[in-house]
């Protein structure tokens, strides 16, 4: 009835996250709005590791990260490492994180996205002539704000399809 125990749902949500990650606003809007994009992929990975730690491991996270590297034109390996580390941290505390209220989880999301974005910016500064900018805080803030919605959406998907 439910082939692969619903593993395809995890892949499908990741693909949706990737589409959202590259979707761009009309060119008429100012360029800086791009900084307000939440880190969709981080949110989705965080959710699945917390909800189903036995289904989504570090290696899956790393492979996802490789695809994200190409998608974002980052040097290969940055997002792989970030997502694997995120998976490790989440996996270590998943029981406690599940007990947290949604606001507390949002706080954890803030720290995680900030960490991921800082690593990405550092690597970009080394790889190409990019500089450091405070704008890096923005994706962390928008991710935090959107976390309750993402968590609710993914939870309802999980309940409907019975991913285990």
């Amino acid at each position: 009835m439910n082939p692969f125990n619903g593993g395809w749902v995890i892949i499908a949500t990741l693909i949706v996250a990737m589409v959202l990650a590259v979707f761009h606003l009309p060119e008429t809007l100012p360029q800086w709005l791009g900084w307000l994009r939440p880190s969709w992929i981080v949110l989705v990975v965080f959710y699945w590791v917390m909800a189903l730690p036995q289904r989504f491991g570090m290696i899956s996270a790393w492979v996802t990260g490789l695809l994200v590297d190409v998608l974002h034109a980052d040097p290969l390996g940055v997002n792989g490492f970030c997502l694997a580390a995120l998976t490790f941290v989440t996996w270590s505390f998943y029981e406690r994180l599940r007990m947290y209220s949604i606001a507390q989880q949002a706080g954890v999301v803030l720290l995680m996205v900030l960490g991921v974005e800082l690593i990405r910016m550092t690597v970009q500064a080394v790889a190409r002539d990019g500089g450091f900018t405070w704008a890096v805080v923005l994706p962390a803030l928008t991710s935090t704000l959107i976390w309750p919605l993402v968590a609710a959406a993914l939870a309802s998907v999980r309940r409907h399809v019975q991913v285990e």
Partner: protein, 294 residues
Amino acid sequence: MRESGAGYLLLALGITSALLLTVDINSRLLDPVRSTLSSVVSPIYVVAETPYSLSRGLGQTFAARETLQAENEQLRRRVLELSQVSAQFVTMRDENARLRELLGSRRRLGSEVLVAELIGVIPTPNTLQVEIDKGSQDGAYVGQAVIDAEGIFGQVVEVGAYTSRVMLIADVAHAVPVEVNRNQFRSIAAGTGAFDALELEYVPITTDIVTGDVLVSSGLGGRFPRGYPVAVVTSVRVDPTLPYAQVRAKPLAALDRSRHVLLVFEIDDVSGDVEETQAEDAAADDSASTGETP
């Protein structure tokens, strides 16, 4: 599952990532891996672009008859104008070739173009890169010049089977060797990360360069074909305390609006080969400098 095992796995993945990073930043060895992966993820760009392509498609389907007629009329007039210009151009090209022969220098290279369509924009805010719908199957290659109707647009930096990634000339990691059309003063136009600004590097304060000067590609460096418009100088600031003048220019190509761009294939329509001509050009200009960072 035990803590320690997971910790070792993370360490291993971290080391692998660090190795990949080092290799990818410092060499082009991983290009085949990247292009394979980009063939895998390129449908994602297509999906993300659907709202825009759909709305354009619908707009075309349901456009009013009058609008279409007016547009048709306008295009017809434009074709007439352009064919007249191009007829003149053919005569002038031949004349130019004859004069160059008289001077004993080689003919300019000809070029062919392939129309490509934008299928996505790289989401990272401080990188100005886009995805186009032509890849190695269509003959695109890394380092290929990309232009639009107004001027130089960027260069191909990664090629997948059916898509490739183009770095715009305004990206911070990009630079084009240019010359001032008026007096052939050579410089390098570096990107600033903003769509509407390039910066000229190493311009001595005594240089004859003024607002409104048109910068064209100089062809040095061998990446971009010579003589395509690049930018118009918008401001020249001379600060006596600095060794160089600060010159800013606005790209002529519609970097943030062009949906269709042209991939340039340099062809040798007369004789001689590409390498030789470029070497000769470079030798003729004594201060040859390569400005592009791929």
